[in-house]
């Protein structure tokens, strides 16, 4: 071929290829993409969500004819993406996984479609079976329901029964933090290869501050008092953070300043730690068939100090974007994913330990579930005792146990958590860290006082 003809041929083929491809927007676009019977779901990549992704096509799509396209992302990324999508109401995603932290203010901003009739109103959905704490947390100030829980959790003290027996120790059903600290010390002495306790130390409002805020509550502290005064460097808050960071530094895991849920889970599975205070949903991973610590664990309530209960309340729920043009298909999907029917399906296909539980009272009544989840009783008790409106010793202007339910909290919590992590790493003092946090919190509080 002559050079000139070759050049023309190449150019022509490039142009032809380009033109032929302009018809499609990308490789993900099959024939059903964007069609009437397909919806787009944006969700966090927790194991329960991945099970859902696996089971949807075979069951939901087969039964309803609605194709579901999932986009799965890590927690922080999915939060950023959801906020971006929903604040612009681009309508690109019909359904998203949202927590009880976001749903109240997303609803307030008009970004979510109410689900009272489309989901809760369905006779076979049985909204009354959903634990009341969730229905309450997912209801907007206008009285409408804006989210349906997919799975829920509280926090528990998880400990190694076998080691406690070996050393003649006893974990009370409702331990206090002083008792837990004492137990951690004894285990630390008795088991040279193990650490007494694992607690999150990784920066992030949803990392270190999930367990830590619940400690602050029970020590009598709060982020803001009822008149919107910041309380971050108050004596109670300071005492709680000092206790937590000291406990971690003395009896906590190696590399605590960078340890989050996943790292502590790992430490527990690999028998590097004897106790762990964290989300009750960890139970289903620890009791899975392939877990080396299956059957060796005991579950007690969240440790307390000044309050009667300290367990938190969290749920990954489904919210439907107000701008979605496929409201019917979207609510059909939400009603299926949060249903009893779906829980039974997971039980049949993957076993009862994998069921996205913690949201329906009926699940706790299932004998098979009780057998597969030895933590069920402790978890149910913790969720029933959780009071997001009044989790501490004082009245508060916001809702939320392990977080303050205002949009600014994500930023504030993360900001303060970085210094708390630095305290754990021995790089700064609790007082310095909290004084800095107080200034930031005071600025936020001022906007609410006005």
């Amino acid at each position: 071929m002559q050079p000139k003809t070759r050049f023309t041929a190449v150019a022509a083929s490039v142009i032809t290829l380009s033109v032929s491809l302009t018809g499609c927007a990308g490789a993900g676009g099959g024939p059903a993409q964007g069609g009437k019977d397909s919806i787009n779901v944006l969700m966090v990549n927790n194991p329960q969500m991945l099970d859902l992704q696996k089971l949807t096509a075979e069951h939901f799509t087969k039964e309803t004819g609605i194709t579901v396209n999932f986009t799965v992302m890590p927690e922080n990324d999915v939060r950023a993406k959801i906020t971006q999508e929903f604040s612009w109401q681009s309508g690109q995603y019909d359904v998203a996984s949202l927590s009880n932290y976001e749903i109240p203010f997303f609803a307030e901003n008009g970004w979510l479609a109410p689900l009272d009739e489309s989901v809760a109103g369905r006779a076979d959905f049985d909204q009354d079976d959903i634990l009341p704490a969730y229905t309450e947390s997912l209801t907007g100030t206008d009285g409408h329901l804006y989210g349906e829980p997919f799975y829920g959790e509280s926090s528990l003290t998880i400990y190694r029964k076998d080691l406690f027996e070996k050393h003649g120790l006893k974990m009370p059903d409702n331990p206090t933090w002083d008792e837990v600290a004492e137990l951690a010390e004894k285990i630390d002495e008795g088991e040279p290869d193990m650490k007494g306790i694992c607690l999150r130390g990784q920066p992030g409002w949803g990392q270190v501050f999930s367990p830590l805020t619940s400690v602050v509550n029970t020590f009598g502290g709060t982020w803001f008092d009822k008149d919107w005064n910041a309380q971050v460097n108050s004596p109670e808050f300071t005492q709680a953070v000092t206790f937590y960071t000291d406990l971690l530094r003395e009896h906590g895991e190696a590399g605590a300043a960078q340890a989050g849920f996943a790292e502590c889970l790992n430490n527990m599975v690999q028998s590097n730690t004897a106790m762990w205070y964290d989300a009750s949903s960890a139970g289903s991973i620890l009791e899975a068939d392939d877990s080396p610590v299956k059957g060796k664990l005991g579950y007690a309530q969240a440790p307390v100090k000044e309050t009667e209960h300290a367990g938190w309340l969290w749920t990954w729920s489904w919210g439907v974007q107000a701008a979605s043009e496929k409201q019917d298909a979207a609510s059909e999907f939400v009603a299926w994913a949060s249903s009893k029917e779906y829980e039974n399906l997971v039980a049949d296909e993957l076993g009862w330990a994998s069921v996205p539980a913690g949201k329906r009272s009926s699940t706790y009544e299932q004998p098979e579930y009780q057998k597969a989840a030895p933590f069920f009783d402790a978890e149910r008790e913790a969720i029933l005792n959780a009071d997001p409106k009044n989790p501490g010793v004082q009245e508060r202007p916001y809702v939320g146990i392990q977080f303050a339910g205002i949009p600014e909290f994500a930023d504030l919590g993360t900001f303060v958590s970085e210094d708390v992590s630095a305290v754990i790493a021995g790089k700064t003092s609790v007082e310095k860290a909290l004084d800095k946090g107080q200034k930031r919190a005071e600025r936020i509080a001022a906007t609410y006082r006005d």
Binding site: G26, G29, K54, T71, A262, N266
Partner: protein
């Protein structure tokens, strides 16, 4: 024998110089440096063949039993997620943006080096200045624009973005390569009556092939690896491989082996492109160096 190695072997002067300086210590340092650079990649490859539990141990257990589980997970064994659409999207975005960049950069570089236009230094500086704005600053305006123009989650919008992102670098690189083309050749072509397009395609292009290959490869790699814009501008349909890759990072449960397997698969096209263009690349990159 490749062109590059042939040149090296045919240069007795350089060989003499090298043998004169042969020093085992230098060799050792070179090996250690190379190993240091390669070790994260090696670790990634080994981890990708371990089970999740073995991958998560600290210190790492290099000699744990090997398994292909993580690769099975990447191809959707557990979640049913299909990795091919994001891989195809990435390939489309990288290939088309690279072609567009080369088509646009060549005439631009010609006008800035072979037949410099007036104030060509200003133009070069202007091109460079577009790289001074951090992309993240433009992310939100781009998202809003894409949302209103209906181009959100469209791979062609991403191709345009990647083209504009890589064009300044390509023009700068190509300019230095084109500056190597002997003026006599261009004059001869002109005397023979060749027009601009013909000069570019038949005289300049063959001489500058190594440079074009190096530029193309770099643009391809930049587009293939780009995450920020892809994450902001794509969604269900046009998500690219890097966005898909981040989906393996979980805050609950173990993911290291899967993530390593996914990273290995996603890195392969770039590695293959790199190996394929190795000869041209070495020539292209050393063109400026021996000037």
């Amino acid at each position: 024998m490749s062109v590059a190695t042939k040149q090296l072997r045919l240069s007795p002067k350089r060989r003499l110089k090298n043998s004169g300086r042969r020093n085992p210590l230098v060799g050792l340092i070179a090996w250690i440096t190379a190993l240091l650079f390669v070790s994260p990649v090696l670790w990634m490859m080994i981890t990708s063949f371990h089970s999740e539990a073995d991958a998560a141990t600290n210190p790492p257990s290099f000699f744990a039993p090997l398994t292909l589980d993580a690769y099975a997970q990447f191809f959707g064994a557990a979640s049913g997620a299909n990795p091919w659409p994001p891989l195809i999207n990435s390939a489309m975005a990288s290939v088309f943006s690279t072609i567009l960049v080369l088509l646009l950069a060549m005439p631009a570089a010609y006008a800035l080096s072979i037949k410099p236009i007036k104030k060509w230094t200003d133009v070069l500086f202007f091109l460079l200045s577009t790289k001074m704005l951090p992309i993240v600053a433009a992310a939100l305006p781009l998202y809003i624009f894409a949302n209103f123009s209906g181009m959100l989650d469209n791979i062609w919008f991403l191709i345009i973005m990647y083209t504009s992102m890589n064009l300044p670098i390509a023009v700068w690189m190509m300019r230095s390569f084109l500056a190597e083309v002997p003026v006599e050749m261009l004059e001869a072509a002109q005397l023979d009556g060749a027009g601009l397009i013909r000069t570019l395609s038949q005289v300049v292009a063959p001489v500058a092939t190594p440079g074009i290959a190096a530029t193309g490869l770099i643009c391809f790699i930049f587009s293939w690896n780009e995450l920020l814009l892809a994450r902001v501008l794509t969604g269900v349909v046009s998500g690219t491989a890097p966005v898909f890759l981040t989906g393996f990072v979980s805050s609950q449960g173990l993911f290291l082996a899967q993530l390593c397997a996914a990273s290995v698969v996603v890195s392969l096209p770039v590695l293959i492109a790199g190996f394929a263009a190795q000869d041209k690349l070495v020539q292209g990159l050393s063109l400026g160096a021996v000037k």
